[in-house]
Amino acid sequence: MRLIDILTTASTNMLRSKLRTSLTIIAIFVGALTLTLTNGIGAGISSYVDRQLGNLGANDVLIVQVADQNTGISSDAPKAYDPNRKTTTSGAGFSRAVLTQADITKIAAQPGVIKVQPEQSVSPDYIAGPNGSKYQVTVSQNIGAAHLDLAAGNNINDASTQNQIIIPVSYVSSLGFADAGAAVGKPVTLAVTDAFGLTTLHTGTIVGVQQKGLIGGGGVIINTSFNNELYNAQTVGLPIATKQQYAYALAYFDPAATTSQVDAIKAGLKSDGFTAQTVQDTIGVFKSVISGIIGVLDAFGIIALLAASFGIVNTLLMSVQERTKEIGLMKAMGMNSRRVFMLFSLEAVMIGFWGSLIGVVVAEIIGHLADSIVSKGLLSGLPGLQLLAFPAANVAKVMLLIMGIAFLAGTLPAWRAARQNPIDALRYE
């Protein structure tokens, strides 16, 4: 029997008991719908998170801190006092070790580290735009070539000697700009106060406006040159030893470095008494929580499919029962067992195909509807979020998975059909 004949025969057989077949297809459809939706949510959120992570910083940077067992939860014994180790006091009274100029030199000497940039933390008093109103602001230094999610303008050029600044979209109207686009290229003023209590004003040019996001953002981002200017103004009057204390430093490495090369740098820094993390490491927990949730949702889809696969087994077993004589006749006429097996397993695959196709199509329709409703209502605070994404590869994977499950479900009935003895089948009443 030709393959095309097996295919057409399988599809006519599938339609022979229309009600039974459609009920089985509905069961498959429910599983396919669930799986496609959970996958769609997974893909949608993942791509959103990836864009958000881009806001946090580049891939070629390690955030280096002093390895300090006294911070965080640690089972280790307290560390002995080291007169050479400087500490700083942070908000709630926790003290943690800071990096000194000697540490910075040590980090820079680490093989694989191209450049070290100590974090010079600046805390401006206010930011003021063209309308003169003053607003509180937090400043973060641009971490490497961060992939910011921008509403207007461009990324910061860290090599530039000009003072560059990126403001969050929430500051646009407060500072007196008509819209994000209008703010780009305009000057803004940051005020810092030094150790003597003297306030100085510093002007930078807005190069971009950052989209509101889940993580990162909220404050302004400035380039190294601007940061240095503010830091120097803020630390006037401080002793040099205090001035050269940093909470962390950024160690740059080759962007083309492999994971194992990055791990080697991390290990080297660790043996020198530092902890080093990439931006991805720091938000790894966040990502694993999301993938955990998606995993649970997927499990529901798989459970639905498992239930549906028993539907396929049942449907096909009944078909085999009904068609005993027909199978016997075909075998008597010289149809070999392998073809009989193919005929029935293809019928199962077809049921899987139609169920999954309908499921995928309906899931996409639901996805688009849900996106347009949710982005206007419930989740309007998360601009740029596409709740459900359906990359073709994911959809194809879901369909192949379901057809695979259908095939497996079909093997038992197909095997039963294939081993029919023509004599018994033709005698069967």
Partner: protein, 242 residues
């Protein structure tokens, strides 16, 4: 039609070849105390072009014999020879091919797919053989013409009368141009008038195309029309009349 050349060829062959032969065939079912001998040491030879009736009471073993001859089952001992070759030596796929190309089957219960068209039913053996769609349709119409059913080709098999159904079954048996047609009580489900018509078609095929007929029946009249009657009783061959 090329009946004359066909029958000339068959007659030449008939003089020399046994198309099918049973050599000391025994078939038993079960084991130990439950052992039951359905066929006991049955031997006979059939020449091409013969029409053979296998007669006997129900349970005599005549159906078992037909299944063995049609290679749907294997004998416990003894051999079935097809054109002088031991069928027991054939592999599964060769056996399937032999059945597909050499044999035609006519059953008492028809075994037609009621929801498919008559033509679809008739071309099933060709579909199994892997013949292309156009060629098998053409051949299907040819054999339907032979049994005078060409006007019913597109009808559903369920809509046919009993006699028409059996003619469709004969067309299906004919479609692969077989050398032997096995018929299991071909007139068993028909009234005598339609039964007669079906018999006429079978014997016409036997005479004009030289197709060997092996008919299992307990209908005396049908058996008498055959050129040879093999009688089976309690699994043993008890009579072979020409």
């Amino acid at each position: 039609m090329t009946i004359t050349t066909d029958s000339a060829k068959v007659k030449a062959m008939a003089a020399t070849t046994n198309i099918i032969a049973s050599e000391r065939v025994t078939k038993t079912y079960g084991k130990g105390e439950n052992r039951f001998t359905a066929l006991d040491n049955v031997s006979f030879k059939v020449k091409a072009g013969e029409s053979v009736a296998i007669i006997g009471k129900s349970g005599s073993g005549k159906s078992t014999l037909m299944h063995l001859l049609a290679l749907m089952d294997k004998p416990t001992s003894g051999t079935i020879m097809i054109e002088g070759n031991d069928a027991g030596q054939l592999s599964g796929s060769k056996l399937d091919k032999l059945r597909n190309q050499t044999f035609g089957f006519v059953f008492q219960q028809f075994f037609l797919n009621g929801n498919a068209s008559v033509l679809e039913n008739v071309i099933l053996p060709l579909k199994i053989a892997g013949v292309g769609s156009r060629a098998r349709k053409q051949r299907g119409m040819e054999v339907l013409r032979d049994v005078e059913l060409e006007d019913k080709a597109k009808n559903k098999a369920n809509d046919l009368s009993g006699g028409q159904k059996q003619r469709a079954v004969i067309a299906r048996a004919l479609v692969n141009d077989p050398q032997i047609i096995f018929a299991d009580e071909p007139t068993g489900n028909l009234d005598s008038a339609t039964g007669k018509k079906v018999e006429d078609i079978l014997f016409k095929l036997n005479q004009e195309k030289g197709i060997t007929l092996i008919i299992v029946t307990h209908d005396e009249d049908l058996a008498k029309r055959c050129s040879r009657r093999i009688q089976i009783k309690d699994g043993k061959l008890v009579g072979d009349k020409r």
